[in-house]
Symmetry: C2
Subunit: 225 residues, 2 copies
């Protein structure tokens, strides 16, 4: 394995270990020693990438949205897909759970920030494009709706986490979207949206296939060259 | 002051002090010593009412909904009034803030429970009555909507707390209601609802006046008797 590739893998392993520890214990109670033990890397390797607990928290927040999803003809479907794939990933993805917990820590976030501006920015951009294409109702203000969605999605996820250990998070996010979207999307768009509970799983499987095909094609191109 | 009245006042002072400490430090970091210092009562007085930190947390959760609001001809307005008065009280009411924080503590709530079942129960009851009276759309399931509202309201409040120190919480709750209610209430009911940002302040002023009149009347009856 090339040295750079190894460094990328180590960095990722450290971030995932940090996420496990932050999601479980919260920022204040977490220690770099815990993260070191969970990651199974040397102290030198960890400090090469992150020089403090704060840097680890920032690192975890930065990779919240590294999953690329398929583009859709209807932009409002991309809003749904973002929410439903996050809901699907939450139970198995400590990075997302740590992001949610770090973003609601009133003391810690003064130091390392929050994942919310990233999510609000991403959703604002998609909703803004949907608005320009006439997919939304006339009164919709993209940024206002983006902030509303980040706040309410976070609340519904937290509710699912507390009440069912996230077992019903996809159902709850789907219920939220079914109740919010009629005030956001135009009727003609609304009836074309897929907000089923299993939407997140299907979109992620599709994204995996697309990525597999891409690296497959790259491989085919690379070999004869 | 009668002994019983004094006991009620002491109990309330202890609960409010506990709420201040829980809201600020969270359940795990809070100590009975902190609460004692904040309450300014004797150790004996505190332990007479609450024999542990856990009992204090339970006490705080039990008084979350002790504010009686005026009844309305349209039951859906009572749903709005509940949400908007909570939003208005949050910045000044440590009991509500502590209730929110205690309810989202994954470790603590295994011991003392959560305020959410109380809120879901109250909202389910009002929504159920609204449903029977034909104020809601046909597909509405009162309990599902009650859980959705508790989760999303909590999320939006948390968002306001983190992003503005609760300064814009009434605006954010009003935005949430404006986006949720069209999927819940029938159009004829919808156009009669008051979901303005200052609704909470007006309803609480009205409730104060009603209570003042009641105790005034009681006084008038008591004097000549």
């Amino acid at each position: 394995m090339a040295q750079q590739e190894r460094a990328v893998k180590t960095r990722r392993a450290v971030l995932e270990a940090a996420a496990v520890v932050f999601a479980e214990h919260g920022y204040t109670a977490a220690t770099v020693a815990d993260i070191l033990r969970t990651a199974g890397v040397t102290k030198g390797a960890l400090y090469f990438h992150f020089d403090s607990k704060e840097a680890l928290a920032r690192g975890v927040l930065e990779v919240q949205m590294d999953r690329v999803l398929p583009e859709r003809e209807i932009k409002m479907q991309e809003v749904v897909d973002l929410a439903m794939t996050v809901a699907h990933r939450l139970p198995e993805d400590p990075l997302l759970r740590a992001g949610a917990r770090l973003s609601t820590d009133p003391v810690g976030r003064r130091q390392y920030g929050s994942a919310w501006p990233l999510w609000v920015g991403e959703l604002s951009a998609i909703l803004g494009e949907a608005h320009r294409r006439g997919e939304t109702l006339a009164h919709v203000v993209p940024r206002e709706v983006a902030e509303l969605m980040v706040g309410s999605l976070n609340g519904v996820q937290l509710y699912a986490q507390m009440e069912s250990g996230l077992r019903d998070v996809e159902y709850r996010v789907s219920v939220l979207l079914k109740h919010l979207l009629p005030s956001i999307a135009s009727p003609a768009v609304l009836m074309r949206l897929d907000v089923a509970e299993d939407r997140g799983a299907r979109v992620l499987a599709e994204a995996d296939r697309e990525q597999g095909e891409e690296s497959g094609q790259q491989g085919q191109v690379a070999v004869p060259a």
